[in-house]
């Protein structure tokens, strides 16, 4: 599947800003900008599905003061998790963030469903 949610990332937003500017300065046409954006959707979906191997585990631990799952929902095949005090474990290192929002879509191949 090619999702458009990655447009709302730093990379996606920056690309859109650049495209906006290029259109305003008449360097490219809006239709070319749209093609670039659609290509971005395809490329980032493909790259994240095929080139990233990261495993994140988290769980709801209500009584202790870390890794707290505040809200979760599953709507239109999209999972959303809102968490607080989350620790990321990357082999030897830990990183801590106060608030985390995870938006998860079905990342299986384009030919799937």
């Amino acid at each position: 599947m090619t999702y458009q949610l990655y447009r709302n990332t730093t990379l996606g937003n920056t690309l859109q800003e650049s495209l906006d500017e290029l259109i305003q300065f008449q360097q490219i046409s809006p239709s070319l900008a749209l093609r670039v954006l659609l290509q971005f959707d395809r490329a980032i979906n493909q790259a994240l599905a095929n080139k990233v191997r990261a495993r994140i585990t988290f769980k709801d631990t209500l009584s202790v003061s870390y890794n707290k799952l505040n809200t979760y929902r599953f709507c239109d095949n999209v999972w959303t998790f809102l968490m607080s005090d989350v620790e990321f474990k990357d082999v030897q290192e830990f990183a801590q963030v106060d608030k985390l929002k995870i938006v998860a879509c079905d990342g299986r191949g384009e030919s799937t469903k």
């Binding site: 447009r7 906006d20 239709s31 749209l34 954006l37 659609l38 191997r53």
Partner: protein
Amino acid sequence: MQTIDMYPPYILQMYGVYDTHANKMEVSAEQVEQAVVEFYQDPVAKSGLNAWLMQAQHSRHSWTFAWPLLDPSKPEEVQFFAGNTIYMKVSRYWHEVPKEEYEPLKMKILSLIAQYSRSKVILNRLVKSLGAYVIHTIQLDWTTAIQDIITMFDPGTVSGIDPSVALNLLFSILTIIPEELETMQEAMSINSKDKQVITGAVRNSHQAVLSLISQVMQAGQVSNVIKEVVLKTLNAWLKLSLPLSETRDLLVALIPYSNYALLCEPVMDALRTAVTDVGTYNIPNTVMEFVTQMLRLAPILEEAQRASDENTASLIYSLFTSVVECHSRLLLQCALQAEHQATVVQVVALLLQCAATPGQYPTDETTSNIPFAVWFTIQDDIMTFEGEQQAELLQLFQPVYLKLVDTFIQKSLLPAEDALTSEEQEMFRCYRQDICDTYMYAYYVLRGEMLSHLEVHLKDAVVKMQSNPSDWRYLEAVLHAYSSVAETVAETDNFYVPRFIQSIPQIPFSDNIQLISVALTTLGAYADWLNYHQDHMHHVIPLMVEGLVNASLVGAASQALRDLTLECPLTISPFSQPILTSCQRALEQSRLESAETERIMTIISRVLSVGKDQPTIMTYLNDTLTPYISRLSHLKDLMGNGISRDQHNELVSLLKLLSCLARHLNLNNSTVEEDDDDDGTTRRHSQVVSGEPQPLLLVLQQLMPLLSDIAAKATTDQEIIEALCKLLKNSISTLVDDCVAILPAILEIIPQLYEASLNPAILDLVKQLVILFGRDGNQENNMGVLLRMVTATTLNRASADLWSHTDAIHGCLMLLSASFKKTPNLIVSHHNHITPLFHLGVEALKLPEEGTVRAAGQFLASFINLSRDPNVGCLQPVVAHNTETLVRTLMFCICNSPRHSLTSFSDVLSALCKMYGDDLARTFKTVQADETFLSPRVNAQQKEDFAKKVLKNRGSKRRILEAVTDLALIGRGLAGTDYGAQTRGFH
């Protein structure tokens, strides 16, 4: 005749198209030719020419000047420009062609195609022009286009073109037509409804095309190079969703061609396109029959393997992977039917064989990774079946997954050291991660069976290790498998996991560091399970505490113990003595990395937090911390005389170490009391049940003078300030109200640091204090002074140069937003800074960073919302006097700032609309009257429409955001474009 306008006059004068009286003139082929030649001579210097040429290309003149330029006597770049112009005109400016010109235009393009049949680059433009022409006319004007083209370029009858060239040309045209259909919506402004109709019209001719393809593929005299082009045409047409029932015979007949290296890939592409098409979901029987016929590829696969032809094998395996990914549920349904079961079993066996491709990944082979996704899909779909059907499927697939586990243990064996380059190592790491994930899916199918199977492997591996200690890689791979399913088995298994844990002390590790590290990591992964099985803790603790005092193992051991102390705070308590002893020895003996020391301090803090009395804790802490505090004190003394980079880093590490202690040494960690005060606010007490103060407080009371000295000497050292703030923040989080005892020292440190550095970490600390003590009768005054100091300093230091202090402004506005919500009393009780702060918020809207703009939006919205509260009357006049400035800033930013900030602008506008509707309506009128504002992109009418939409929807934040987005698109010249519509919803 239309003329060009809107391009710079100097360009027009240069090329003689600028008339000072009429201001417009025509463009001739000669001028364009001259411009193209000059542009190609020096593209960088002549970038103005590029703009002129583009404009010429888009003008109506281009219909006239392009044709004479398509002459072999002209320079090649001129011919290419002309070819490109014709394609652009036919595809995007079709509306400019009168109906009576359709036929002459077609003839011109066809004759040029024949003329340029051997010039690949220009021919491509002309073929695309013909493709675009067909798409515009096939519906009504040239309904027999496909058949006519097949007849026209028939190699047997065509004149003036070599038959093989004609064949190549014919299939190039037939490929381009469906490809142009794909891009037409974006490039030709054709809506999706028309696209469907045109696609239907093109698809109607598919039988003629399929028949032609079939003939050419069977023709013996046609070369494989041409056949490759033919197969690409087939693939392009299959993408039009042709019915599989009509294409099946042709596709099956193509299977033998996959034996030829050049044709294998296009054959596989065609088969994949056909079998994974969306339309195939409605014809399950046809799909199953087709999949059965596809198994004729098996002998070709075998032959490829015999010939070590990895490319062909990969293509075939990828095809079957796509089939399973696309039709897994259908295949599972068929697996329940006797007549189809053999096909499904054969397909799955093929993929299992792929996973087990012999050799080391990725040096010997790169095919075994192809079907990874399949194992998840099958498992996931099996779970959607219910009752007997699921049981039957599990019975059928359990042997497959067991075989897969065996395969993965072999394939995940670590290679010999230095066998892989760093890039290959990374590929292998990813490969093992995929195996790790697949073990998890296998567990869902196999459950206890998998653990039983792993147990057999574990016993084998131990025996091998005993007989030959150098044969440890098998044991490592088995432990890797155990760790992969650790979080999946969780607390549910009470039979196999206990046996595995009990077997750990019996494993002959032979001091093999790599192996013990993996064992420690695996045990750390079972921390959650151990929390529910305290009686097994004694099997794992010895290995971990021994690991702590071994310099090579301290990394893995500290990580495993850290996991254990975090997951099992209570169950680990009986083992605290050996853990604490080992931690202390580790800190004394080893030369540890900063991260390892921090982990050990976390372990110590967590272990001390449960079941220890205060004297015991203090004694241990004294012993452990004294050397670090002495060292910190020594480094502090050195700070005045210049400190080396290493010493500076050491000081920061020591502060981080104490930060870990402050975060985790909490005797109330699992039993935090919460009760309500008289005023209803929740209060937290950190004091331990016995009434004694927290040990952390005692430590901090001794430490604060030292921290104050460090702060005094490091007022501009950002790294030290951040580490110090983190330490204080963690301490306050742990001690909550009880940090009052150290509050005076903290309140002394903050101003000297902030006045010198404007570091946002300090603002974060201030925010925590203000929220905690802002309504505390004893501390309210102190918090007011603190907040005033921070705001005054930010205004004095940052107002003159906002762009250099965006992080401080961000932090300050976030602090003020929080204070508006939790402690408005602190802001409104001191009027002096309110107006300048409002101005700061308005100016911050123009800053480039998204976070700062969001903070400004939150601050202004909170300010406006609170200003109507009668208890805080001092805010209202500030808003009322500055409404016009705010509205102008918002509208300017909506049209010019990055679009991801639109929500922030909309929030402020919503607040203004809700609280100051009349003032806003008046301000909009003033703004509309100013013709120069936002001109020329936004005209008066558009400004009026925006104002109406905002005022009409004062209760709806969503509608106001829509109005803001529409204005943003107008301001960028994107309104009415597909791009604008597509990007409207994402900010």
